[in-house]
C-alpha cells in the first residue's frame, strides 16, 4: 500500500478491520480431499452450546432417520419422508403454535430442495438429486398440499429464481463463459398441465465485478421480466411462450444489494436492492403495456428495502434501518405505498420476518425478524394496523443467522408453506402452516 493510502482514513479503517478479523482467525489444518473443515474458534459458552446442540441434533437426526427407515412413509421419487408429530423441539416440529396447524416434511440424504412456489392449488419445489452441484440432476417436485406427497419431474438444467404464471413455471439457468464476464442466462419453462419442461431461450449478459450474474426473474401482466445487474442495469421483457426478447429496458437505476428484488406490483415491475442494498431504496416501476416507461419512485425513508410484496393493489415494503453507530438498534417497519409510490401508511417499529407471502389478501412473513436467531417465527400482518403477530414459532434446522433459512415461502391451497434450510448442511424441512 502506498504512503498516501496508508494515511487515508478509509484505508486505515479497513486495514485495521481486516487485521482485527485476521488476528482472531485460527488457521485450521488443510487436508486435501476432505473438503472444507468446519471451524470456529470462538471460545466461551457459544462454542459449547453449539457442540452440545450439534451432538443433540446428530442424535435426534440419526434417531429420526432410523424411525423413518423403520416406520415412516416416504416418497420413492425424492427420498423424503413425513416427520410431523415427532418430539417437541426436534427440527421439523413446531415448538409453539397459536391458532394454526403446522406439519413438516423433512428431506435428507442426497435430496436438496432449493425454492418453492405455489400455482394452481399445488406447491412446486426445485431440488437437486445428488450431493455434487456440478453433476447432480435437478427436478421440479409437484407437492400435494394436503398430503405433502412429492412427485419429481426432471429438468434439463438446474435453475433458480422460480416464478409461476400463464399455466407454467419459469426459472433461470446460468452458464459462465470461461475467460470473460459473459454469462448465459437460460429461461426454462415447465408446463403445469403437460408436466413437461422446455428450454425457452438464452440471453447473454455481461456481468461486471464478480463474474456471477446478479439477476432476478418475475412474471407479470403476461410477460416475463428478467433483471440483470450488469454494468448498465437492464430489464428484459420476454415472451413466456417463445422466450424472445420483446423489449429491452435500459436506464434502470443500479439497485445494488446482494439479492435484487423484482416484484410484479401495481403499475408494473418494482425493483429494489434487497438485503445489503444501498440505504436509499431505489424502487422503480415500469409500465408493462408500453414497456418503456420507467419511473424512479422516491423512497419513503432512508432504510434498506428487505422485501417487496404486492397486496391488494398496493405494494408493501419491509424496511430496515440501522442508525449511525448503533448496531443494536436495527429498526424494522412495514411501509405501504400505492402504484405511484405515494405513501399510504406504515407500521409501528416492530419485528417481522424476512420473507413475505400474500395468502387470500393477507400478508404472512417468516424468518427471525428482529427476534434474534434462536427460533423462527411465522408472523401474520394485520391489514389495517400493519401490526405483526407471531402465530407459530419453529425450531430451525440450523442457526438461521449463519445458514440460509426461511427465504423461500409460498401460499397455495389455503396454506402457507415455508422451506427452511435450503442450501445448508442440515436436512431441509418444508413446513405447511394452516390458519
Amino acid at each position: 500500500m502506498d504512503d498516501d493510502r496508508r494515511h487515508d482514513p478509509t484505508s486505515r479503517l479497513l486495514a485495521d478491520f481486516v487485521q482485527q478479523v485476521g488476528d482472531q482467525v485460527v488457521t485450521p489444518p488443510f487436508t486435501p480431499g476432505r473438503g472444507r473443515a468446519r471451524r470456529r474458534d470462538r471460545p466461551h459458552r457459544t462454542h459449547h452450546r453449539r457442540v452440545l446442540a450439534l451432538c443433540v441434533s446428530v442424535v435426534l437426526v440419526v434417531g429420526a432417520v432410523a424411525l423413518l427407515v423403520a416406520y415412516g412413509p416416504r416418497s420413492s421419487d425424492t427420498g423424503g419422508g413425513v416427520t410431523g408429530g415427532g418430539v417437541a423441539g426436534q427440527p421439523g416440529v413446531p415448538v409453539h403454535a397459536k391458532h394454526v396447524r403446522v406439519r413438516a416434511l423433512e428431506f435428507g440424504g442426497t435430496f436438496h430442495p432449493a425454492e418453492i412456489v405455489g400455482a394452481h392449488g399445488v406447491l412446486w419445489m426445485t431440488a437437486r438429486h445428488g450431493n455434487d452441484p456440478s453433476t447432480a440432476p435437478c427436478a421440479i417436485e409437484r407437492i400435494d398440499p394436503a398430503r405433502l406427497s412429492p412427485v419429481a419431474y426432471p429438468l434439463s438444467a438446474c435453475g433458480m429464481n422460480i416464478v409461476a404464471g400463464n399455466g407454467a413455471l419459469y426459472l433461470e439457468t446460468e452458464a459462465s463463459q470461461p475467460g470473460s464476464n459473459s454469462v448465459d442466462i437460460g429461461i426454462e419453462s415447465f408446463s403445469t398441465t403437460t408436466e413437461r419442461s422446455t428450454f425457452l431461450s438464452r440471453h447473454l449478459m455481461t456481468v461486471v465485478g464478480s463474474e456471477i450474474a446478479h439477476t432476478q426473474l418475475a412474471y407479470a401482466d403476461g410477460w416475463l421480466w428478467l433483471y440483470g445487474d450488469t454494468d448498465h442495469d437492464v430489464v428484459l421483457q420476454i415472451s413466456p411462450t417463445s422466450g424472445a426478447v420483446v423489449r429491452t429496458l435500459t436506464g434502470v437505476p443500479a439497485i445494488g444489494g446482494t439479492e435484487p428484488l423484482v416484484a410484479a406490483g401495481p403499475g408494473g415491475i418494482w425493483l429494489a436492492g434487497g438485503p445489503g442494498g444501498p440505504p436509499a431504496p431505489a424502487v422503480v416501476a415500469s409500465d408493462p403495456s408500453t414497456g418503456n416507461t420507467i419511473q424512479a419512485l422516491p423512497g419513503t425513508t432512508s432504510a434498506t428495502v428487505e422485501w417487496l410484496a404486492p397486496v391488494n393493489a398496493r405494494m408493501w415494503k419491509g424496511e430496515a434501518n440501522v442508525p449511525q453507530g448503533q448496531h443494536r438498534s436495527l429498526t424494522e417497519r412495514i411501509v405501504v405505498v400505492n402504484g405511484s409510490g405515494a405513501f399510504v401508511k406504515r407500521s409501528p417499529v416492530e419485528g417481522f420476518g424476512s420473507a413475505p407471502v400474500a395468502v387470500a389478501g393477507q400478508l404472512w412473513t417468516a424468518g427471525p425478524g428482529g427476534s434474534g436467531c434462536a427460533r423462527q417465527p411465522i408472523w401474520r400482518v394485520d391489514p389495517t394496523t400493519l401490526r405483526t403477530t407471531v402465530i407459530a414459532t419453529l425450531r430451525p434446522t440450523s442457526d438461521p443467522c449463519l445458514t440460509p433459512s426461511f427465504r423461500s415461502v409460498a401460499g397455495t391451497g389455503g396454506a402457507l408453506f415455508v422451506l427452511d434450510g435450503a442450501g445448508g448442511s442440515a436436512p431441509a424441512v418444508l413446513y405447511r402452516v394452516k390458519p
Partner: protein, 160 residues
C-alpha cells in the same frame, strides 16, 4: 499431503484472506467458508497454478466469487442480525459498526474498496480485476468511501 510451498502459502495467507473476505461478506463464517473452498480448488489445480506470480490474488478472486455465488444461490439471510447477536460476545469495539456500515453499501463498492484500500491496488488494476472502466471504479470508490464515512462518522482526509 500438500507440498511445502502450498502449506507455506496456506499458513501465510489464510487468516489475511479471511479478514479481507470479511470486508465483502461482513460475516466471518462465510468468509472462512469461501477461503477454505478457494484453497481446496487451488490444491486440486496446484500443478498448473503453482507457478503463478501472485497465487494469493488468484485465491482472493476465487474466494470472492464463491462468496458472492453462495450468497445468491442459497439466499442468505440479512446478516445484520448476526452482528446483533455477536455484539458483546467477542466482537472488538467498533468491528460490528464497520460490518454494519459495510452491509449498507453495494457489494461492488465493497469489492473495489477492498482491492484499492486494503490490498493496495491502483485504480487501473482494480478496474482490470473487476472488468470495469476506471471511471466506474472511481465512482464506486467515491460512493463507497462516502457511505462508510457517513455511517461511521469518519472524516475525509484532505486531498491534494
Amino acid at each position: 499431503m500438500p507440498t511445502t510451498t502450498f502449506t507455506e502459502l496456506y499458513a501465510a495467507s489464510y487468516a489475511r484472506l479471511v479478514g479481507q473476505l470479511t470486508v465483502i461478506t461482513t460475516d466471518r463464517d462465510a468468509a472462512e467458508d469461501a477461503v477454505q473452498e478457494a484453497f481446496s480448488r487451488l490444491w486440486r489445480q496446484w500443478d498448473s497454478l503453482s507457478g503463478y506470480d501472485r497465487p494469493e490474488a488468484w485465491l482472493r478472486r476465487v474466494a470472492v466469487n464463491i462468496a458472492i455465488s453462495r450468497w445468491r444461490r442459497i439466499r442468505r439471510l440479512h446478516p445484520l442480525r448476526q452482528s446483533d447477536r455477536d455484539a458483546g460476545e467477542d466482537d472488538a469495539a467498533g468491528r460490528a459498526d464497520i460490518e454494519a456500515a459495510l452491509r449498507r453499501i453495494p457489494v461492488k463498492q465493497r469489492h473495489a474498496l477492498l482491492l484499492h484500500h486494503v490490498v493496495g491496488l491502483p485504480v487501473a488494476e482494480v478496474a482490470q480485476e473487476l472488468g470495469a472502466a476506471e471511471g466506474t471504479v472511481k465512482s464506486w470508490l467515491f460512493r463507497g468511501r462516502e457511505a462508510l464515512q457517513r455511517s461511521l462518522g469518519v472524516e475525509e482526509a484532505p486531498r491534494g
